[in-house]
Every structure is written in structure tokens, then in C-alpha cells.
């Protein structure tokens, strides 16, 4: 087979390279599952054809996703950071930060699932009335408090980049608050609160928020993108824990 010209040959080789790197990302999962299936559980892989087809989809999907990151999500995050910084209005920058955190979290399916489950636990534990109405209200309140906390987290994170506050004081301060609240919070909500920190940041929000932070840190004088640009996601996983425990304290007492 002969390629039509050099440009097409180049494109094909780039695509192959990207597919290969996506395959490398998936390889550990394949190895682990095969090892346990054959050596430990000692059963042949079920639905082998579906598994291969699914893995093929995963590789293609990951390749497209990474390509899209470089072309779309990272540039738009940086462009917005630059445009907002150039506009010079602190209000709009902070408003954007809050809205980004809140709007991407409030409808997050993982959060909706966790909130519903938490309501069931609280209901069966007798902490709130068992009626469907009160369960729904409880779940909605939980969701809203997580979404508000993520919005606030991004807002505080952006403010930190602008002011140049050292991140470790804020995060350690947050940890101390989590520790203190763990002591007084009702036991039923602690596990959910700890997990809430992990489920809030979705796969599309993370790259956008990372690009926003790094973009801001690189345009503001005296900030380093590495030292100051990261940290937004850390706030977004810390603050929900505090808010969920706080919500538990208010509702249950």
C-alpha cells in the first residue's frame, strides 16, 4: 500500500501513535482482570467478544478525548482566564468561578445517586422522617449544599491565585475544620461526607478548571503557573466534606 502524499502519511502515523498511547493507558486494567480471572478465580473470561469490542471502544474514546482536550477544553479554559483577567473586574471573575463550580455539580448524576442513597440511610436510621417527601427534601438539600460548596471552592481557589495566598495554610486549615467537625457530626453522615469530596469533580470539569487556574496564574504578575495555578480541584474536594457534615449537623440537631 502506498500513501498518497507525505502529509497523509504523517497524519496516519500521528493517529497510530495516539491510539497506541491510549492502549497503553488501558493495558493495566486488561492485565489485572485477565490475571485474576485465569490465575485466582480460575474461570475463563465470560463474554470474551463483548469485552474485546468494549476495550476497542475505550481506546478509541480515550484517543478522541485527549485530542479534544488539546484542541478544545484547554484552549477555551485559558482563553476565558485571559479574557476575564484582562477585563479586570474581580466581581465577574469570581462570579464566573462560582457559576462554573455550581452549575457543573448540581446536575452531576454521581452526586444525585449519592444524595438519594444518603437519604435512604438517614431515613432507615430514623434520623429524618421516613416519608418520601422528607427523603426527597433531604436529598435535594444535600445536593444543593454540595453544589454551593463546589462553587465556593472554585471561587476561593481563584481568589487565592489572584491574591497569592499560600495554598497549604488554606488546605491545612480546611483539614483541621474537617477533623473538628468529624468529632461532632452525626456518625451516619461521615462516610458520605468523606466520599462527597471525591465524586464532585467530573471528567470534563477537571481539565477546564485546571486550564482556568494555570491560565490565571500565568497572566497575573508574580504568580507561577506550577505553584499557584494548581489547587482549584483540591478546594473542590475539601469544601464539600465540610458542607455535608455541616448540613448533617443542622438537619439532625
Amino acid at each position: 500500500m502506498k500513501f498518497y502524499n507525505k502529509k497523509q502519511a504523517l497524519i496516519v502515523s500521528i493517529i497510530l501513535k495516539k491510539l497506541k498511547s491510549a492502549f497503553a493507558d488501558l493495558l493495566p486494567i486488561i492485565i489485572v482482570i485477565t490475571f485474576f480471572q485465569l490465575v485466582v478465580i480460575k474461570q475463563p473470561l465470560p463474554h470474551i467478544r463483548e469485552v474485546i469490542f468494549g476495550s476497542f471502544l475505550v481506546v478509541i474514546g480515550l484517543t478522541l478525548f485527549v485530542q479534544g482536550l488539546e484542541m478544545g477544553l484547554f484552549p477555551i479554559g485559558e482563553t476565558l482566564a485571559h479574557a476575564l483577567a484582562r477585563k479586570g473586574s474581580l466581581f465577574w471573575l469570581l462570579f464566573f468561578a462560582f457559576a462554573l463550580g455550581f452549575s457543573t455539580t448540581v446536575a452531576e448524576p454521581a452526586l444525585i445517586a449519592v444524595a438519594a442513597e444518603a437519604a435512604d440511610i438517614a431515613g432507615s436510621g430514623g434520623l429524618i422522617p421516613q416519608s418520601p417527601d422528607s427523603l426527597k427534601r433531604y436529598a435535594l438539600g444535600l445536593r444543593l449544599s454540595v453544589a454551593v460548596s463546589v462553587g465556593l471552592a472554585i471561587l476561593i481557589g481563584v481568589l487565592r491565585i489572584i491574591r497569592g495566598w499560600p495554598i497549604h495554610y488554606l488546605i491545612i486549615g480546611g483539614y483541621v475544620v474537617v477533623m473538628l467537625m468529624t468529632i461532632i457530626a452525626p456518625k451516619e453522615i461521615i462516610g458520605i461526607a468523606y466520599d462527597a469530596g471525591g465524586v464532585t469533580t467530573s471528567t470534563i470539569t477537571v481539565p477546564l478548571v485546571a486550564a482556568l487556574g494555570v491560565g490565571l496564574a500565568s497572566i497575573i504578575k508574580g504568580r507561577s503557573p506550577l505553584v499557584d495555578g494548581f489547587g482549584l480541584i483540591a478546594f473542590a474536594s475539601l469544601l464539600p466534606m465540610i458542607f455535608v457534615m455541616g448540613y448533617g449537623l443542622i438537619i439532625f440537631s
Binding site: 493495566p28 486494567i29 492485565i31 489485572v32 482482570i33 485474576f36 478465580i41 463474554h47 476497542f56 471502544l57 475505550v58 478509541i60 474514546g61 480515550l62 478522541l64 478525548f65 485527549v66 485530542q67 479534544g68 488539546e70 484542541m71 478544545g72 477544553l73 484552549p75 477555551i76 482563553t79 476565558l80 465577574w92 464566573f96 462554573l100 457543573t104 452531576e108 454521581a110 495554598i167 497549604h168 483539614y175 474537617v178 461521615i190 468523606y194 469530596g197 471525591g198 465524586v199 469533580t201 467530573s202 471528567t203 470534563i204 477537571v206 477546564l208 485546571a210 494555570v214 500565568s218 506550577l226 505553584v227 495555578g229 494548581f230 482549584l232 480541584i233 483540591a234 473542590a236 474536594s237
Partner: protein, 265 residues
């Protein structure tokens, strides 16, 4: 045919995830910024790639890996597998769950390597540090942290010790490390805790936690099933700072050796 329907549903759900972001950006463009976006066409194509790519990724996971991972988590924590066919146990001995800890560690490592948000953050960190932070180095360090965390988390479920003891001691370690770790790595280390637990890791790990707490005698899925995700987001922070500290120590030691050589000469 059924698959196309499933894929359509996932694509729609992914699109719904992006909708608030699109609305926010358009709103800001129209009412606040009022500036053209450079390379608009490329950005839009990239956005479409992200949505379709993520949907294909999720569809593939749901088709192939999630069912398998969930079946395996159930099989490994099955009392018949752990204690043999006949014996009836009412007391959990943490030592017989060896395969579960190993599976937890390995699946934690493997899913973290495939986690798209970690790939994105590693890409950015590599770009911003002008190549001194390698993408694979960061991802493997984070994955080791997740592996250790989830393995410890399954141990906690088996033994039934309270979650907060582990998490609070983890925090104390993080605080001590923060004092000594190189300042430039701290923000990235904190961030790497949040990005590990998303699309790939959460469903598999949640299945493992719920399956295990249902199978171990004396555990309640509602109370003990939670918490694995907290482990998976705490230990990468420790791993990344630890790795940075180790690198700094070895660089310092080399420098000292060189100075000694110079002084000796």
C-alpha cells in the same frame, strides 16, 4: 441495535454534563466579555471530540470492563471463595482476605492509570513545569497512592475499624509532609487527590466496597460500604509529596557528595 441505543443514551448524558459549561461560556461571551474567541472552529471541534470520546469511553467501559470488574469483586469477596465450600463462619478473620487486598490494590492502580481527568492534569503539569514533571511519573505515583489507599480501605471494611481514624491519621501525615515537601509540588499534590476518583475508578471501587461489606459477616453495606473513595483521594496526596521529597533528598545528597569531592580536591 441495542448497543446503538445504549450509546445514544450515554452520549446524551455526556452532552447534558457539558450543557451548563456551554451555557456559561456563551452567556459570558455575549453579556460580559464581548470578545471573539480565537480559533473558534478548532475549539468547537475539540469540544465535540471530548463529548464523543468520553461517551465512547464510557460505553466501552460499561460494555466490557464494569460488568467484569463487578463480577470479579463479588466472586473474590464471596464467602465460598474465601473460606472454602462448606465451612460456616460468623466471625471475620482479616487474614483470609489476601486476594481481596491484592485485587483492590491492582484494580486501584489500573483504573487510575486509565482515568481521563488524571491524564488531563498530568498533561498540564508536564506543560507548566517545562517537562520536569513527567506525565507517566506523576500518573504512576498517583496510581500507587490509590492502590495503597484502596487496599487499606478494604482492610478497614474487613476489620470494621472506624473510617475516621484512618482518614484523620492520613490528614496528620499530609500536614507533616506539607511542612517538609518542596513548595512547588504542594498544589499539584493536593489536586492529585481530587482527580483520581472519577469515571473509571468510582464505579468499580464502589462495587467492591458494597460487595465486600455485604459479604463479610458483621458488616453493614449502608455504613461500611462508603469510604473507599475517601481513601482513594487521600493517599495519592501522600504519594506525590513523598515522591517529591524523595527526589529532593537524593538531589541534595548528590550535591553534598559533589561538594565533598570538591573540598577533598
Amino acid at each position: 441495535m441495542e448497543f446503538i441505543l445504549d450509546f445514544g443514551k450515554i452520549l446524551l448524558a455526556t452532552f447534558r454534563d457539558v450543557l451548563p459549561i456551554i451555557a456559561l461560556i456563551i452567556g459570558f461571551q455575549l453579556f460580559v466579555l464581548r470578545q471573539p474567541i480565537p480559533h473558534l472552529r478548532q475549539v468547537i471541534v475539540g469540544g465535540i471530540y471530548v463529548v464523543i470520546g468520553l461517551a465512547l469511553f464510557l460505553a466501552g467501559l460499561e460494555k466490557a470492563l464494569f460488568p467484569l470488574g463487578k463480577i470479579m469483586a463479588a466472586q473474590l469477596s464471596d464467602p465460598a471463595f474465601i473460606h472454602g465450600q462448606t465451612s460456616v463462619v460468623d466471625h471475620a478473620d482479616w487474614r483470609v482476605y489476601g486476594w481481596v487486598y491484592l485485587f483492590a490494590a491492582m484494580i486501584g492502580f489500573a483504573t487510575t492509570i486509565a482515568e481521563p481527568s488524571l491524564i488531563a492534569v498530568a498533561f498540564k503539569a508536564n506543560e507548566v513545569s517545562a517537562g520536569t514533571i513527567s506525565q507517566w511519573g506523576l500518573r504512576i505515583t498517583v496510581a500507587i497512592g490509590v492502590a495503597f489507599g484502596i487496599s487499606l480501605g478494604t482492610f478497614r471494611i474487613v476489620t470494621g475499624t472506624p473510617l475516621y481514624l484512618y482518614i484523620l491519621s492520613g490528614y496528620v501525615i499530609v500536614i507533616i509532609q506539607t511542612v517538609f515537601a518542596p513548595k512547588r509540588i504542594i498544589a499539584l499534590a493536593y489536586d492529585s487527590g481530587g482527580v483520581t476518583t472519577s469515571t473509571v475508578t468510582v464505579p468499580l471501587v464502589a462495587a467492591l466496597g458494597l460487595g465486600l461489606s455485604a459479604a463479610v459477616p458483621g458488616r453493614d453495606p449502608a455504613l461500611d460500604g462508603f469510604g473507599l473513595i475517601a481513601f482513594a483521594s487521600l493517599f495519592p496526596i501522600i504519594a506525590v509529596m513523598g515522591y517529591a521529597q524523595f527526589m529532593q533528598l537524593s538531589i541534595n545528597r548528590k550535591k553534598k557528595l559533589q561538594e565533598k569531592k570538591k573540598n577533598a580536591l
